[in-house]
């Protein structure tokens, strides 16, 4: 994984794990790789991974079991909420960027529809 040096690394690690959880690569109840293993896989500092995981435990996306490691929550509403949160975040970013180009809300929706349609056309 390549990191963007302008964004805090712990934040990027969290995002990476969020996506894996939402995509089901880390399913509810799955054990998250050990801190050091994650650090080696992502080529980052152990402390940074630790910070990302602790925050995810606080957010209750991960459940920490003493002596056994971290597990993805089995509470599917929690995961649904996480997914919704990510969607809102991305839509927000998109909306603010496009809005800055002086487009009306209707035009933004229209542009998005057109884009989706052409994408679907390109896939066929």
């Amino acid at each position: 994984m390549q990191f963007d040096d302008k964004v805090p690394i712990y934040y990027q690690i969290k995002n990476y794990l969020y996506h894996r959880i939402i995509a089901g690569q880390l399913a509810p109840g799955d054990k998250v790789p050990a801190v050091r293993q994650l650090a080696v896989d992502l080529t980052v500092n152990v402390n940074t991974v630790q910070r990302a995981l602790s925050e995810m435990v606080t957010e209750q996306v991960l459940i920490s079991k003493r002596g056994r490691g971290n597990f993805v929550t089995e509470d599917v509403t929690q995961i649904a909420a996480l997914k919704h949160h990510l969607i809102v975040t991305y839509v927000q970013q998109f909306y603010h960027q496009v809005h800055g180009l002086e487009l009306s809300d209707d035009e933004i929706v229209q542009e998005l529809r057109t884009y989706i349609a052409t994408q679907k056309g390109a896939d066929k």
């Binding site: 302008k6 964004v7 690394i9 934040y11 080529t43 500092n45 402390n47 940074t48």
Partner: protein
Amino acid sequence: MSNALAITNLTYRKNYQTILTDVNLTITPGKVVGLLGENGAGKTTLMRLIADLAKGYRGTIAVGDATAGVQRRIAVSFSEALQGFRPTTKLSAVRDFYARVYGDFSAKKYLDLITFLQLDDDLELAKLSKGTREKFIIALTLSREATLYLLDEPFSGIDSMSRKRIISSIIKWKRPEATMIISDHYVTEIAPLLDEVVVIKDRTICAHKSSDAIRQEFGIGVEAFYESLYEGAIQHDDL
């Protein structure tokens, strides 16, 4: 808990020239710290002073509770350039020397490290490429169970595969409570590894910040932060 490293009012002169002046630095245990600065800024000198390899400074240097030079030598593992050895010395002989001199040298860790770094310790020093030599120095340095590790430009002039192996070995073998200072003048590739960065400029430390704080507060990368300090775009007062 005492600090991993505490330097107060350090000044060092050599041959009537000031090399370092008014250096103050405190590092808490467990951190991986990048020591950045141009060639000749004084990075190596600072490391040699911490490791008690250079003497005649003013001020105090404490590694944990150790302030006396002899004690600091025990607590610090410094990546030495192996210049004291004859070119025909076998790597295994260098290892034997380390095991004799340093009570904290772990034969098991050494074996794990040379296996991981793909080193053949039956070779002679003179036969090593620059990258292999650097890997061997890392293996020796990390084989000690020290409290503070000083890696002096471990990535200079080596190929990217060796660099990746060295970075992985640092992540794998650094004990959580051990502290590590890595000097470099080029930071991009090791940026994700660093908890904090310390920048040396004009013979003193001009910045000491957490890497993620730099990204959060300035919205820039560690490399850009370092460059802007050298170009004067970020002033000392902004920190």
